[in-house]
Symmetry: C2
Subunit: 328 residues, 2 copies
């Protein structure tokens, strides 16, 4: 089989992760990175070629799958339907509430142009969604829980950086152990927002800043912190750079279900991720779905699909015979 020829649209943390993930898969090759910046100003990690996004269309016949690495707020709602007119595409659109609308837009563009598009891949949405679906289908009587962390929330980190007097800042979302243990016990608790997660902030203040005011402003910030127990820690810039320079994340999907006579038997399913790098892991998911996309496209599929629509065997480089012999 020919290698799957990958393009990367957008070169931030996720794009860099995809660049590195391609190298871990012998059946993939990276054609190039497409950027809205001046291509000569972008230096890639592996020396991959860099092109202007404006020139992407001219290279359509050289790329099997374009992996779109923009942000969900403003980039992907425009970019994915647009690029789906010229390429088979994959994105990691993660604004859960807007997925149906995004799906419809991408599906229309892809069907009209005869392309195949996968959206909302990564770990949540993505692997966590898959685990919710499998677990709820297997245990229809029960309750599902998702916990996130310990990990960096980009939205909350951006929010504290906007507070007056904050020079540097980072926010970690932390799942509450007691809440997770209550779920694992089978008691199927109703948990409030505050009971499920803590928010931990690390701040380098500007010189002479009012620390008490920074702390109060953060803790009372509507929609971000007011419904949570939040801690604010002030540290030096040296400590910040030494300790808080990574993008870890992860989380837990749990299903507590009941089976048997009188639904009295407790059955517990738990899936968890502990990721040292959120963007590198998300990139690894995207690349393995690029393999599935190339295969499904070869079978004639077009339109938009999500992780729910793709049989697991398409993700593996192994054949059906090999999978049954080694992995079943």
């Amino acid at each position: 089989m020919n290698k799957v020829r990958i393009g990367i649209a957008g070169y931030g943390n996720l794009g860099r992760g995809v660049e590195l993930a391609v190298k871990q898969n012998d059946d993939m090759e990276l054609v190039g990175v497409f950027t809205r910046r001046d291509p000569s100003a972008v230096k890639t990690i592996t020396g991959a070629a860099v092109y202007s996004m404006n020139d992407a269309e001219k290279m359509a016949d050289k790329i099997d799958v374009m992996i779109i690495c923009g942000g969900s707020a403003t980039d992907l709602p425009k970019q994915t339907p647009e690029l789906a007119k010229k390429f088979n595409v994959i994105d990691s659109f993660d604004t859960h509430a807007r997925i149906p609308e995004h799906f419809a837009n991408v599906d229309k563009a892809a069907k009209e142009s005869g392309h195949l598009a996968f959206i909302s891949l990564g770990w949540d949405p993505g692997l966590f969604s898959l685990n919710r679906l499998y677990a709820e289908s297997i245990l229809p009587c029960g309750k599902s829980y998702t916990f996130w962390g310990k990990g960096v929330s980009q939205g909350h980190t951006d929010a504290i950086r906007r507070v007056e007097g904050v020079k540097r800042g980072i926010q970690y979302t932390i799942p509450v152990e007691e809440a997770m243990d209550a779920v694992r016990s089978g008691s199927q608790p109703e948990l409030t927002t505050r009971q499920k997660h803590l928010r931990e902030c690390w701040v380098v203040p500007e010189e002479g800043a009012d620390l008490a005011k920074i702390e109060e402003t953060i803790k009372n910030m509507k929609n971000y912190f007011d419904e949570y127990d939040t801690t604010v820690n002030f540290i030096s810039e040296e400590e910040f750079d030494a300790v808080h320079n990574k993008m870890p994340h992860g989380g837990f999907v749990m299903r507590s279900g009941m089976t048997g006579e009188g639904e009295s038997t407790h059955q517990m399913i738990e899936y968890s991720l502990k990721l040292e790098s959120n963007p590198e892991f998300t990139a690894s998911v995207l690349i393995c779905y690029a393999r599935a996309l190339a295969r499904l496209k070869a079978e004639g599929a077009t339109g938009c699909k999500t992780a729910f629509d793709i049989a697991p065997a398409y993700l593996s480089p192994l054949s059906g015979d090999e999978l049954r012999a080694k992995m079943l």
Copy 2:
């Protein structure tokens, strides 16, 4: 959509589990249980009709999916290909080494007769296999681990019951916490059989039996206990009946992988099950795949498939729109 009409072939613990699982799914109905015993001697939990296995063929047009609940050692290798000539079938064949041969036999029978067959469903093989496939496809550089327990191993339980002087007995397989923590740390340890699992035996001795000899015989039993650290506990029949009357099981699938520059970033995926009843949970998996089978059959699929070949969306009673809106 019409309800999926289920038949159960074989009425042991698993068959009873399937009977109860059907009741938890509104889109399923149980037509009856088929047994090799005298049907009048079999009493079902829910009052489901009982028929002789010899009469199954006559009812072929009344059953959409026959769930075969026999044992993997001798029943399923014969029953599944045989019944696949007359029915769409699902089994939980779990002799990993013989899966390719079983697949070929069932595939041939199902294709020739235009039926659809799913084999080796349950949690291992089944959900654990799926997690191995997803995790290894996403993180190609890494190491996978499977731990089982805490749970009752039927094979080991049968083995200790055959020891002279043993009146009642049960064996629990227990994963070693330290080994699991070593895996979670990212050190990717090489683990021996002894380092991964303990074996815990609870025995009610015959009156006047030689306890030291029972313990020694169990601990040195080839292929069952000699490669493990095994404990043998002697208890009264009253305690045995009160405490050891369930069939719990479970386990862990872990993938410790590396991504990024120089493959220096550790990424950890973990899936676990904690089941109060192994047969009831396995039955729940079989029933949710019966839904997928009915749908794939309606699309024209025939032959043999495993969990790897079935897109997740087929398992859920929800539509694609509902899944994307609620679960992605």
